[in-house]
């Protein structure tokens, strides 16, 4: 319990650091959002009036405080860039809510692919006695991990989009219009995200299985006459999966945080692309909210993984 409280305090401290960091970053980036909104023909008076209206002329601590209070009460502010109607800017929360499903679908689909493929491969790999198979899988995983995601994306676009014509590259269909068309399209970016992670997860599982195979209880099981197959699936796998679960948890956080590059390659309107375009238009309320979301998501998942790990793997308590 003391451990959890201590971790919780550090979590809060970390989140505080993050909020300050996220806020400060945008005080030093050059580029005036007011000017960026008004464009080339703006007069000085217009820019000044808009700066005043956006609260950009307030002192920095005051702006930080205003922002933080907003965030804590669930008000993420209004986008500088996007309009809801002639007299109202779009709420950041609404904007993000429109983009989040895309990123989460991408994350969900990739995670599904990762689990479906990495676990059988990992078991086969860890369980095999064949050196040839081990070698082939190892080289294959090394190779897979060496392909940058944007290049993999380009290859997938070329092979499945241009040659096989299984999908229309760039022809993203909104889930609001055609749900199955949407899933069909999302499958290809999901594969791009999943491939290197499948290699990582499978390798992790394989190492975990091999460690377990060498422990005393396996020797005991063998000495009691258990077959390799039984040892593997009944005794080893349960223990070997524990670290893998946390590993997958961390991968999930990373993917949910936004696969910026993959969204860019496939032209997906997810939060990654929103983030990149909002940085370039200096739409600070959106950028700050997105960064806060992304970083908090990662930190919180790590926190949960830490706690879980301690809970399911009692050996951590030993010392």
């Amino acid at each position: 319990m003391k451990y959890i409280i201590k971790k919780l305090l550090t979590l809060i401290l970390t989140l505080f650091f993050i909020s300050v960091l996220v806020f400060l970053i945008f005080q030093v980036i050059p580029g005036d959002p007011a000017l960026s909104i008004l464009g080339t023909e703006a007069t000085d008076e217009q820019v000044e009036a808009l700066r005043e209206q956006l609260g950009l002329n307030d002192p920095m601590p005051k702006r930080y405080f205003n922002w933080l209070t907003g965030v804590l009460t669930g008000d993420l502010g209004k986008s500088y860039r996007y309009q809801e109607s002639l007299n109202e800017q779009m709420a950041v929360s609404r904007l993000i809510a429109g983009k989040l499903p895309v990123t989460l679908t991408l994350a969900g689909l990739s995670l599904l692919l990762i689990i479906i493929f990495s676990i059988p491969i990992g078991i086969l790999w860890g369980g095999t006695k064949s050196r040839a198979l081990d070698g082939v899988l190892n080289v294959l995983s090394q190779f897979t991990m060496s392909v940058p995601s944007f290049f993999l994306g380009i290859i997938i676009i070329y092979v499945f989009g241009l040659i096989m014509r299984w999908f229309t590259p760039g022809g993203y269909v909104s889930y609001r219009e055609d749900f199955w068309g949407y899933i069909r399209y999302m499958l290809f970016p999901a594969i791009t995200v999943a491939v290197p992670k499948v290699a990582m997860t499978a390798k992790f599982l394989r190492n975990s299985i091999i460690t377990q195979l060498k422990s005393d209880y396996v020797r005991t099981a063998y000495s009691k006459g258990a077959r390799r197959f039984r040892v593997l699936f009944v005794h080893v796998l349960k223990n070997a999966m524990i670290p893998v679960v946390t590993f997958i948890g961390i991968i999930a956080a990373e993917i949910a945080a936004g696969s910026i590059v993959v969204e860019q390659v496939f032209g997906l309107p997810g939060i990654g692309r929103l983030l990149v375009s909002s940085i370039s238009t200096r739409d600070y309320p959106v950028v700050q909210a997105l960064m806060l979301y992304i970083v908090s998501a990662v930190v919180i998942v790590y926190f949960v993984v830490d706690i879980l790990y301690r809970y399911i793997d009692p050996r951590v308590e030993e010392q």
């Binding site: 464009g39 080339t40 009036a49 309009q83 109607s85 007299n87 989009g161 229309t168 032209g267 370039s280």
Partner: protein, 512 residues
């Protein structure tokens, strides 16, 4: 008085149309001469149906008076109309107004509202709506004019329910072009409704995805538009637009590169037209070494504009030598011939016999400018000038280059408008948007003189002299007016090119 304007705009029209045809012919070096019009396909117009148009940029504002990006205005053109609107020849024709008269002193414009004209939600357009819209644009509401040229409007008077007087503080021969300012309901300041009198109405807008429009049932032109729905879909890149065209998920794409146009020629109607953008290597006249006219001229000699036109625009653009778009009556065809020896000589005169180093700042969202900058870097090498490229994002560019004038050189495009003055006004030494810092007393004097003139020959002659001054002083290196290349589904017809950046969908129809 009114006749004069008719004449003036007619002059522009003829040249404009001619240039459209010419650019069409100039392109297509590989034998696949794309037509200058995309409405080749004949067939009976079928009412109804849906069209998806690929666009490159996100909408910068849904408020027609605040939107500045050409990429936004081309979409909003379908939703909003002004008292008058531009037609495909660059003329202004009545829209919300049924006609107008101008007083002899040129200070009062009287507009008669069109009978029974309604907004897309069915409410009638009233004189109050017009007054509100014009006052909003001219700064009479809160002191900040949203359309700068309309700041000379000193009052809007409602004469009766269908008659409005717009009173100017000074006569201006071009003000009618700016009365294309969109009419919106007076109530929109409270309701925020985005409605206009255009052929389509806004159904939905999803940031980064696009805009969906549907037919305005109350549109004043009978039988128009043909289409039920138009979707403007933001495409990720020119390449993905290609793939989407081929897969049929978009029907019209108006920003092809030359290579793409050639590739699509077999299966699509391809059209090409001159744009109204003056692309150039803009030089900061206020900083060394570009404050020396010899250096600026040397750069003009060193840069091979034809090579840029060939490399980047497949020869389909028009090479220019000053800040003007061919097509205006006043256009002067000029330019420095490519001559590296001459460039070196001028550089030596200016005290740079071994050349110098310079930086080209380019807005990264415009691939054509980035590519042009790469070609320029290579060309300048021959003259001994070492140029480096710095890509910055659009808002940094606006901040540092356009507003801050903190740059050496930049490659960008300055878009013109319905009037030629638009491309010259920024070169007055005190103009706020004179980001190149050009300064020439003679230019200032002449510009002031003609801006208040009402004599069309004097105006045209004045514009010519201004262009020649810009050329002689090598205010910047003017390169190319890029072409507009469009691909359209073969079953579609009725697409019209405009001299301004708009995608007019009301005349587009399916042929089967």
């Amino acid at each position: 008085m009114k006749n004069f304007f008719k004449r003036l705009s007619l002059g522009c029209v003829v040249v404009m149309v001619l240039s459209v045809a010419l650019t069409g012919c100039a392109g297509g070096k590989k034998g696949e001469n794309p037509s200058d019009s995309v409405s080749e396909t004949t067939g009976t117009a079928v009412s109804g149906g849906e069209v998806v148009v690929g666009i490159q940029q996100d909408i910068d504002s849904l408020d027609p008076h605040l939107a500045t990006a050409a990429g936004t205005k081309e979409v909003l053109f379908n939703i909003f109309e002004g008292l008058v609107v531009s037609d495909e020849n660059g003329n202004v024709t009545p829209a919300v107004a049924k006609d107008y008269t101008i007083s002899d002193d040129g200070l009062t414009y009287t507009f008669k509202l069109r009978d029974g004209i309604k907004f897309s939600d069915g409410t009638p357009v009233t004189a109050e709506d017009v007054k509100y819209s014009i006052e909003r644009c001219s700064g009479l509401l809160d002191g900040t004019p949203l359309v700068k040229a309309l700041s000379i409007v000193s009052g809007v008077e409602i004469v009766d329910q269908s008659t409005i007087n717009i009173v100017l503080s000074e006569a201006n021969s071009e003000i009618i072009y700016y009365l294309t300012a969109e009419i919106i309901p007076a109530s929109s300041s409270e309701t925020g409704d985005i409605i206009g009198t255009g052929p389509f109405k806004l159904d939905s807008y999803v940031p980064q995805e696009g805009v969906v429009l549907s037919r305005n049932e109350y549109y004043w032109q009978d039988g128009l538009p043909y289409l039920d729905n138009v979707t403007f879909k933001i495409v990720a890149s020119a390449e993905s637009a290609m793939m989407e065209l081929q897969a049929g998920s978009i029907d019209i794409y108006p920003y092809l590169t030359d290579d793409q146009a050639n590739e699509l020629a077999a299966n699509f109607n391809i059209g090409s037209n001159g744009s109204n953008v003056v692309q150039g290597l803009y030089l900061n006249n206020a900083v060394a070494p570009f404050d020396d006219v010899r250096v600026r001229q040397a750069l003009s000699y060193a840069i091979d504009r034809d090579a840029i036109n060939d490399f980047i625009f497949g020869g389909r653009g028009t090479v220019i030598g000053t800040s003007m778009v061919p097509g205006y009556e006043c256009y002067v065809d000029t330019g420095y011939e490519h001559d590296v020896a001459k460039a070196k000589e001028l550089l030596a005169d200016a005290g740079y016999p071994d050349g110098f180093k310079m930086e080209i700042t380019v807005p990264s969202n415009y691939q054509m400018h980035v590519d042009t900058a790469q070609v320029i870097v290579e060309q300048l090498k021959e003259a001994g000038i070492t140029a480096t490229i710095k890509k910055v994002d659009w808002s940094t560019w606006l901040d540092d280059v356009y507003k801050g004038r903190n740059f050496e050189t930049t490659v960008c495009g300055i878009a013109g408008s319905l009037t030629p003055s638009y491309l010259l006004v920024r070169y007055q030494s005190t103009a706020k948007n004179n980001f190149v810092g050009y300064s020439n007393e003679n230019f200032d004097t002449l510009y002031t003189k003609i801006s208040t003139s009402l004599d069309s020959t004097e105006i045209t002659e004045g514009y010519r002299q201004l262009q020649i001054m810009l050329h002689d002083d090598a205010a910047s290196v003017y390169t190319v007016v890029p072409p507009v290349l469009i691909a359209m589904n073969k079953k579609l017809a009725g697409y019209k090119f405009y001299p301004i950046y708009v995608q007019d969908m009301k005349s587009v129809y399916w042929t089967e």
